[in-house]
Symmetry: C2
Subunit: 162 residues, 2 copies
């Protein structure tokens, strides 16, 4: 894991200083997975924002809409798990979608803890339209890669996002 120098008995101050120096410039931020993942994600959301501008949907609102259209209905927490959002984040996302009239929320008669979410008619329309754009956005995001690189990347990325 962290760099360890080969086992030697004693090290001079010089050697220690040199090692420390090497260690300092050795770690390059722009080559680290985390930083690159963040930047790739930044680029993707920029593309997303641009293509989804006229629908005024954020990536998370989009995800919730699409997923809800898949499963028909779901409780808040359940939809959150399906879209990889925690309950607190879901709170805000759903609130805004309800305010826009794309989603409806009603209590579950069988379990009074639950709130059942469904799409409104308008929500269904927007979801359909958005899914089309979603496809374009994915293509644009992967544009810098050739066909086979694209497949390879998606396969590997899938293993880092279990």
């Amino acid at each position: 894991m962290a760099r360890r120098s080969a086992g030697q008995a004693k090290k001079s101050v010089e050697e220690l200083r040199e090692e420390a120096e090497a260690l300092r410039t050795d770690y390059r931020l722009e080559e680290q997975v985390g930083h690159m993942l963040r930047r790739a994600h930044q680029r993707h959301t920029a593309i997303f924002q641009e293509r989804m501008a006229h629908l005024q949907l954020t990536p998370l609102q989009f995800a919730a809409l699409i997923k809800l259209s898949d499963v028909g209905m779901a409780s808040q927490n359940h939809l959150g798990r399906l879209t990889a959002m925690d309950a607190a984040t879901m709170q805000g996302v759903i609130k805004r979608l309800i305010a826009r009239g794309l989603i409806e929320r009603r209590p579950d008669p069988d379990d009074r803890r639950r709130l059942i979410l469904t799409l409104t008619t308008e929500g269904r329309e927007i979801a359909r339209e958005a899914a089309d754009l979603g496809y374009d956005i994915s293509v644009l995001t992967l544009e810098p890669l050739g066909e086979s690189d694209r497949k390879a990347f998606m396969r590997l990325l899938g293993r880092l996002a279990p």
Copy 2:
């Protein structure tokens, strides 16, 4: 019950329904780059948080610290560009690092718009310690991949984060 006859002029209700179904499930959220990038990034920050817990550094605070230790000194906007943060985000990150006494800020005598950032002694120490952990975190993040897959992934990811 629905018998599927090959190529016919008219389509049965069954067939139309099946097509619609196929179309609906055609766009699968969990297979889209954006969603997977987001989840991979989530996983990485979880690993980061865990390993960096005792230093109490967030990924962005870490990035600013490391980069500033690389370049010695920088204006806020400049450091922001080096770490891929916009000016508004930088504001908060720097504010918290100054509050913790890891960074110092003083006006640039040559350009009165600029604020020059430098590490404090403690900031330098923390940066050094954090860089070590940074290695571990990168390794852990890429752990699900084998050696050659790791290299391939980083190469491809680099093209999506220009």
